[in-house]
Amino acid sequence: MPFRRVPLAWANLVHNKVKLAASLAGITFAVALMFMEMGFYNALLDGMVGLLRKFDADLILTSRTRYTIGFKESFSRRHLNEALQFQDVLAANPIYIETRMARWRVLDSGLQIPVRVVAFRLADEAFTDQEIQAQTAALQVPNSALFDRSGKARFYGRPRIGDVTELSDRRLHVVGEFGLGADFLNDGNLVMSDRNFLNYFADRRGADPESLPIDIGLIKVRPGTTDRVKASLAKALPPSVEVFTKDQFIDNEKQFWLLNTPVGFVFWLGMVFGFVVGVVICYQILFSEISSYIREYATLLAIGYRRVDLVQVVLLEALYLAVMGFVAGTAVSFVCYAMNQKFTCIPFNLSTFRVTLMFAFTLLMCLISACLAIRKLWSAAPADLF
């Protein structure tokens, strides 16, 4: 490297190891704080749409008044069957969901804990989750269900396949398991056949099987016809039924939690606060760094360096702080995410996109701090050195 310059920014940063450790701890804290708030924010959304993502469908039908998956509002199966009349519709599969009446009896304690029960016709390809689809034969057993191993074990215990417990005071055979996890409304899940479901929750049965109330209708269409079929269905079906694409349905659920509940706003605000705290911490570090070298910076100006050269030094220091703080903050966050997920059973996912986004936030945080701290450089007056 024949043209490498004196690494002033790096040297200034690492010169005092104790100060560096304190600085890094500050940035790491800010990064971890942002990560955690983002984690809660995303856990809220990821958790609430976890079930929806597992549905195998191009279009989804729900009651127009079911503004969120957690709100119990059903519609008549007849409308789902009407959808089958459309030329490009390949399948129309009903999904039943019960949360209010479903009570899981914990094997060890005998306590009854609320659980979400999701049911489907075993002949249907209702889930993208192959683990569930592969166990349809087992679900044909009367009074049987698949147990959600990702749910809160401290509530439901750890039942093994073959265990017999109770659901809403009736015997239930655990014939298999799957992984979904908790969300902000539900601590765990069971999946069973529609036949078993109607046995457990008799109030969902009607006189006319054709007009049975269902919660969600999953529609599969020929490739490339999704939008056209959606428009046709929206026109043909009564106003009480709403048609979504799968992505729209997921977005709709997210928007509900973000805009109509305080939870989304609180976590979003937490992320902003994490960012602001990071800016303040980083600003203090850089300001103190510049202040401690102010005469040296003034000397550099005297011997012919330009202020923009000094600005580069401070920006580089901010960049180094951002990178080091981000690495440490990410490591801490990984551990915290794992702990959170283990404790809450809510999905705390760190995707590449989210890590990249957080790095961009960290960079922005340190650069804003640097821009604020750089004003101190203007107090470096070489004429005052004499």
């Binding site: 310059r5 004196v6 040296e296 005297a302 011997i303 012919g304 360096y305 330009r306 004499f386």
Partner: protein, 367 residues
């Protein structure tokens, strides 16, 4: 780059400077005139608040010139933008009272910081920085950070940083104030060497009497004005010439310095006539450099009666007797002489009876 170069390292004309505006305007410098030649080591002294620091910062292009002319290394600073002043500063070496080294960098890296302003080649810079540190006696401390160096060693690193680009002008503020005797000696030798070998002009603000003997010129300031501007080396040299003359040999040093201070340097080309026999005497002469023939016409044309050389003097008889010149003086080669005008000459004689008597004694001895 200098816009033109008249030879002076520094030329200041009618320089005024103030701080503040309106009612709180406070004028610091008043009509400063000063010319410094390349290779001169100038020491500036004066009481606190006399304006010497302001003058130093103006010379160092650290402030905008407000009024007057200030030429540094041939470049006029008045009217330059901040960016242009930065360019000028890159040709000046700065030595401050405190070392102002980056604690985070080694001695070598601190010196390299100055080099990287002009050259980005790492290997070359490393070599030059090492040479500069060896020059200031820090060969064994090249890789040390300031914390591992003594106060004197730190200041020597700062001096190496100022010298490493071989600037043609060095501005130093109390450079020896924090140094021990050994470090002071090294620094002074360096300054002397730079001034003589590299023709570097060195401008030092100091109260350290130990370094006064280094000065080619001592500038004293008081209340924003230059109180005295004495080219010391030349003055000492001229005083030595004066003491060769019996008339001046008994003068006290300050009386000699007063006479020397009134001398004016004049140059004559080879073959030219300096004074002509029969003309009215108006000046006293001392030869600074070159040789001259003394010719006298006693009726048969000019006849060479003597040859004068460096340190010899002539022209005093006509001044003392108020008579025409008794001989013609012709420059043999390019001649440099110090002259003292008739009034100053007479004032000097009248100021001390012993001085007058001595000159008369010389006069009668010559006759």
């Amino acid at each position: 780059m200098p816009d033109d170069n008249n030879g002076e390292a520094l030329k200041i004309t009618g320089l005024n400077h103030s701080f503040g505006t309106g009612e709180i305007r406070n004028q610091i410098l008043f009509g400063i005139d000063l010319t410094i030649e390349p290779g001169e080591l100038v020491i500036m002294t004066g009481p606190s608040g006399c304006g010497k620091t302001t003058l130093l910062t103006l010379i160092g292009s650290l402030r905008q010139v407000q009024e007057g002319s200030l030429r540094v290394l041939g470049r006029e600073l008045a009217g330059l933008s901040d960016a242009e002043l930065v360019e000028v500063r890159r040709n000046i070496g700065f030595i401050f009272q405190t070392h102002n080294l980056f604690e985070s960098l080694t001695a070598l890296q601190n010196v390299r910081m100055a080099l990287e302003l002009k050259d980005s080649n790492r290997a070359r810079n490393r070599q030059r920085a090492e040479e500069a540190l060896i020059q200031v006696g820090l060969k064994e401390r090249i890789g040390y950070k300031p914390k591992g160096l003594s106060g004197g060693q730190r200041q020597r690193v700062a001096i190496a940083r100022a010298l490493v680009n071989k600037p043609k002008l060095i501005l130093a503020d109390e450079p020896t104030a924090a140094l021990d005797a050994r470090s002071t000696e090294i620094v002074l030798n360096l300054m002397r060497q730079l001034a003589k070998q590299e023709k570097t002009t060195i401008f030092v603000v100091t109260h350290d009497v130990k370094i006064l003997n280094l000065a080619d010129r001592i500038v004293t300031m008081a209340e924003g004005r230059i109180k005295s501007n004495t080219p010391t080396t030349e003055t000492i040299r001229v005083c030595m010439f004066l003491t060769k003359c019996p008339a001046f040999s008994s003068l006290k040093p300050e009386e000699l310095a007063n006479v020397a201070g009134k001398l004016v340097l004049e140059r004559f080309a080879a073959g030219s006539t300096v004074i002509r026999q029969g003309n009215e005497g108006d000046k006293f002469y001392i030869i600074n450099q070159g040789t001259a023939d003394v010719l006298r016409d006693e009726g048969g044309g000019n006849r060479k009666i003597a040859t004068l050389q460096e340190g010899d003097f002539f022209g005093e008889i006509a001044l003392l007797e108020d008579k025409p010149r008794s001989a013609t003086i012709v420059a043999v080669d390019d001649l440099e002489v110090y002259t003292l005008d008739k009034k100053s000459f007479r004032d000097a004689i009248d100021s001390t009876a012993s001085f007058k008597e001595q000159l008369l004694k010389v006069f009668y001895q010559r006759r």
